[in-house]
């Protein structure tokens, strides 16, 4: 495939003298060396990669063209179109070059084209569904494939004995068995290509598709065993060889699976430590999966099985470990590679069929094979299903069986295997090649074309896509637990029992080992669903325009009540705090346009309603780890002042780690003062108050604990803030943090330490409200005088719990407008505006 596309693709280049065998000297060899050439063709140097790129381009363009017409693709599966395109291209190549080029070469196929497809399908395999149906899948994959291979091979041999195959096909029983073994395996690529467009129900799909993946081990073994038997000659085959053949079935399949699992383990373990080098995360996934494939191939184990198991095994941990962006990158790269490989495979299949030099046609053999593979597939499915249904909770009905029989598509694997046959050992190779091509074409084109109408006509249950809901997820877990418990009560250790065991083992050991600690939550499925629903809401909300103020009736499905609370409270604050009670908000209210207000409100909405939990967790973790690094906000307020240089470094450090964490969490909008705001901050800084309000995502658990301290400091300073907030994507956050902390280190003696403030209104109100109880400032003033170490200690759990009453005392001090709209309990969590000093400049 890599060799010379010149006749076809190089036609425009012909002027440069590029011929089939590229000339060593580009340009005209006859002339003397012209000194410095202005223009030189170096075709042969770039030839191979150039051609690969061109072929991929052609395939992609073809795909685009096909999909221009929805009508065509809805009727004809893409794989058919690609094969037909391949036939046409092959014809052109043949006409131009007078010989067939760019065939599907087994080496290319097995080493480069197949792995991405298998990895894609293994990685995105719905694992629950797969394991729920593992029994059926294994039966069809092992018993079914063995059955197909032997019956087809034997029947063909019988056909030959009956004289229906021309005598020039020189093949014995073993040859036919070999042919049967390679033609019998259902092909994952073909099945995937066709079934993805058909949308049958998940169970049916997973059974057919799982079979096509797992039967690789059987196919490989059968093929190798038969091949070596043929090469040894049937006379020399001993009884022990048969035993070895059976044993090698286990070695190849279990060995392949083991290789895959080992690499899955390695992969999961590696991604645990990529926190600081996020950029190579996607690469690791591909590298290790590919390494699994190559390793299995090297040890002549089942490579397909290895990659499948690798993808299946690592996904859970890898997804939890790598960042959100890496996850997206992995997903799309994998899909792109797989779809690319699939396209090329089908196109090359078409091209390869044109090469008639490899062909030798025998009608008896071709027709016989076609009939037998269809017949024995159907028979095998019926027999196996009958047995399986004795054990299945949900029996597979007749319609399912029809689809399964009919969906047994053969594909490129069979073709590549038949090409690999040795002509000297198997004289009938050419006949087998021709037959395989016909079978592949027949199954992909005829069956691929008709399976959609068939499914429609039989009214096969289609898969229905519905959005995941929290209820379903939660109840499904409940059901699992119930069933496991009932199995315990009944005393039957069945599937549910073992799954339960496995999950406990996984929780206790595997996840501990393979997941980074911060990733724990993601692996909880209920949490995961919740998280994804929130993300979706946020995105759709933003997509819809996201004007909070204008859409008063806005209700997100997620948390309408919270939204309304947040919204009313913030808008009301904005409106009513113009009284001068709250200088910060007053400034926001009077100076800034409605747009900014909307931004601010939008931010509160997003951070209060949507993202809050994650940050809480972070805050919590930070508080718990107080003895180590102080959390970022704390660092600003009470440590930076005293040991300026050291602490600010530490801040930066904790900042960056924080940012990394946040980076992990997808799209996060963090409201920040803009730089323009910073300018204003300088002005106000002359008032010995350095209010550069930073509205950061709330981490109420620590923030709440902070409250008394903050308010204590708050009454020392009048906060005039002329800043508004902007919503800044998290990407820009680091920069912001750095600028802040550099300002920080330039800044300020302790007395100007502006506290990080969780709650805006209380502080301002404490300062301004005339009716504020007098005892409050006196209560809190001493706290400000605490040395930093003590202040730090104040963050310990015991004291912070003691702080809570204080904090509750503060509640009534909030402005009435605030108080009426924020219920005490929820207010904290809804929007916590954390103010941070901008540094005295």
């Amino acid at each position: 495939m890599l060799r010379a596309a010149l006749p076809l693709l190089g036609l425009p280049l012909a002027g440069a003298g590029a011929t089939e065998e590229p000339t060593q000297e580009p340009g005209s060899p006859g002339e003397p060396p012209p000194g410095l050439a202005l223009f030189r063709w170096q075709w042969h140097e770039v030839e191979a990669p150039y051609l690969v790129a061109l072929w991929i381009l052609v395939a992609s363009l073809a795909k685009i063209v096909f999909h221009l017409s929805r009508k065509v693709t809805s009727l004809v599966p893409e794989s058919c179109l690609l094969i037909l395109l391949g036939l046409v291209l092959g014809g052109i190549v043949l006409a131009v070059a007078k010989k067939a080029e760019y065939q599907l070469e087994p080496g290319t196929f097995f080493l480069f084209l197949l792995p991405p497809i298998v990895l894609d399908s293994g990685y995105f395999m719905p694992s629950r569904l797969f394991f729920d149906n593992l029994g059926a899948i294994l039966t069809y994959a092992v018993v079914g494939t063995l059955w197909n291979a032997f019956t087809t091979g034997a029947a063909l041999w019988g056909l030959q004995q009956a004289g229906l195959v021309a005598p020039r096909v020189q093949a014995g029983l073993l040859d036919f068995l070999l042919f049967g073994s390679l033609i019998s395996a259902v092909d994952p690529v073909a099945v995937l290509a066709v079934f993805e467009e058909v949308h049958v129900n998940e169970t049916l799909f997973i059974i057919v598709f799982g079979e096509s993946l797992l039967n690789d081990a059987v196919t490989v073994v059968l093929y190798k065993v038969c091949n070596s038997f043929v090469e040894m000659g049937s006379a020399n085959v001993q009884a022990t060889d048969y035993l070895k053949g059976v044993a090698s079935l286990f070695v190849v399949s279990l060995g392949g699976a083991a290789v895959g699992l080992v690499f899955a383990f390695l992969l999961a373990l590696t991604t645990r430590f990529t926190k600081r080098v996020r950029i190579i995360e996607p690469l690791l996934v591909f590298l290790l999966a590919y390494a699994a494939y190559l390793t299995a191939e090297m040890a002549s184990l089942s490579a397909i099985l290895a990659v499948t198991m690798c993808g299946l095994g690592c996904k859970k941990y890898v997804e939890a470990n790598i960042s959100h962006k890496s996850r997206t990158a992995v997903k799309y790269t994998m899909k792109t590679l797989a779809s690319c490989a699939e396209t090329i495979i089908f196109m090359l299949l078409g091209i390869s069929a044109v090469d008639s030099s490899k062909w030798a046609w025998d009608s008896g053999l071709v027709l016989g094979t076609l009939f037998f593979i269809l017949f024995f597939r159907a028979l095998g499915v019926v027999l196996q299903t009958w047995v399986l249904n004795q054990f299945r909770l949900v029996p597979l009905d007749k319609i399912d069986q029809v689809v399964m029989s009919y969906g047994g598509l053969r594909g490129a694997v069979a073709f590549a295997l038949v090409i690999l046959l040795d002509r000297t050992k198997i004289p009938a190779k050419d006949y087998f090649v021709a037959t395989t091509i016909v079978v592949v074409f027949f199954t992909v084109i005829v069956q691929g074309l008709t399976i959609k109408p068939l499914v429609k006509w039989l009214k096969v249950k289609r898969s229905e896509h519905h959005k995941p809901t929290l209820n379903q997820e939660l109840h499904e877990h409940t059901f699992d637990h119930i069933l496991a418990a009932v199995e315990d009560v009944v005393g039957h250790h069945g599937y549910h029992y073992w799954r339960d065991r496995w999950e406990q083992f996984d929780k206790k050991y595997l996840s501990q080992l393979l997941m980074r600690r911060s990733a724990y939550r993601i692996r909880d499925q209920i949490w995961d669903v919740y998280y994804r629903l929130n993300i979706r809401d946020a995105i759709s909300f933003v997509d819809q325009g996201g004007h909070v103020l204008s859409s008063t009736g806005l209700t997100l499905p997620s948390m309408p009540s919270r939204n309304s609370v947040a919204e009313t409270s913030v808008t009301n604050l904005l409106r009513e705090s113009g009284s001068g009670a709250c200088l910060d908000l007053q400034v926001i209210d009077t100076v800034r346009s409605g747009r900014d207000r909307e931004d601010a409100v939008m931010h509160h909405l997003l951070c209060g309603g949507l993202y809050k939990p994650r940050y809480r967790k972070d805050g919590m973790a930070n508080t718990e780890a107080t003895n180590g690094k102080p959390p970022r906000d704390l660092g600003f307020q009470d440590t930076a002042a005293v040991i300026l240089t050291v602490e600010s470094e530490e801040e930066e450090d904790s900042d960056s780690s924080e940012t990394e964490k946040e980076d992990d969490e997808g799209i996060i909008f963090v409201a920040r003062a803009t730089s323009e705001v910073l300018q204003e901050g300088k002005v106000s800084g002359s008032l010995e108050v350095c209010p550069s309000p930073r509205i950061i995502p709330p981490s109420p658990t620590c923030a709440e604990k902070e409250l008394p301290w903050k308010s204590g400091q708050g009454d020392l300073a009048v906060y005039v803030s002329s800043e508004t907030t902007k919503i800044v994507p998290v990407d820009m956050q680091t920069g912001w943090n750095q600028s802040i902390s550099s300002l920080e280190s330039l800044a300020s003696p302790p007395c100007t330490q502006a506290p990080a403030m969780t709650r805006l209104p209380p502080r301002s109100l404490v300062t301004e409200e005339p009716q504020a109880p007098l005892n409050l400032p006196s209560d809190l003033r001493p706290s400000f005088a605490f040395p930093p170490s003590l202040a730090k200690a104040g963050r310990s759990h015991s004291e912070s719990s003691a702080d809570i009453p204080q904090q509750q005392e503060l509640q009534p001090l909030m402005g009435h407008e605030d108080h009426t709209h924020l219920s005490p309990g929820t207010a904290n969590s809804h929007w916590c505006i954390q103010f941070n000093r901008g540094g005295r400049l």
Partner: protein, 196 residues
């Protein structure tokens, strides 16, 4: 165990139990053996302690609640018919169950609704026919790993209740519960194959 009773006829009231639960003779016999085995000191009934001794139930997050559901109305003794009656909810749904059933007869124990009801009462601790936010929170606390904080749990609980709550009373009634699961194949999900 086998020597004690190897015949279904030894089970008291075997016919009425069969009629009520729909279990096959073999399943009943199997369950009877299991019942006798759990009743290790041959009281003739099971107590809570007997069930709690099943090792895996102790680690099941819902274990206690499931044991409780074997002892309705605060009773302390579980006799064999009661035992079987609870387990009958997990019998797979046959074609016959849906086909020629006398509409006058009560719904079989393994009907979709009864399966759902079993799950529902695991949530509804106070038996008021509604899963309140608090009850949802308790279940979530059992099910979701320790790594999720209380506030997060609360927001999940809020959202879960909201999602299912249609009449806006802040709680999930049984009908709303069933509605939220209408797309799920309960008959399949809440059945155990060996309990034919």
């Amino acid at each position: 165990m086998g020597s004690r009773s190897s015949h279904a006829a030894r089970i008291p009231d075997v016919d009425s139990i069969r009629r009520e639960t729909g279990f096959s003779q073999a399943s009943l016999l199997r369950l009877y053996h299991r019942f006798r085995a759990l009743d290790w000191n041959e009281k003739g009934y099971l107590s809570r302690v007997d069930l709690q001794q099943i090792g895996a139930l102790a680690v099941n997050p819902l274990g206690d609640r499931i044991i409780d559901s074997f002892f309705p109305d605060g009773s302390l003794h579980l006799d064999f018919p009661g035992f079987v009656r609870v387990l009958a909810r997990f019998r797979p749904v046959d074609d016959e169950d849906n086909g020629n059933r006398d509409p006058k007869e009560p719904e079989p124990l393994n009907s979709r609704m009864n399966k759902l009801r079993f799950a529902f009462q695991l949530y509804d601790l106070d038996r008021d026919g509604k899963i309140s936010r608090q009850e949802m929170l308790q279940v979530l606390r059992l099910m979701v790993g320790v790594q999720v904080t209380e506030e997060q749990l609360e927001s999940i609980a809020d959202r879960t209740v909201q999602e299912a709550d249609e009449d806006g009373d802040g709680a999930v009634s049984f009908l709303e519960f069933a509605k939220s699961l209408e797309k799920m194949n309960i008959e399949q999900k809440m059945s155990i194959r060996i309990l034919k």
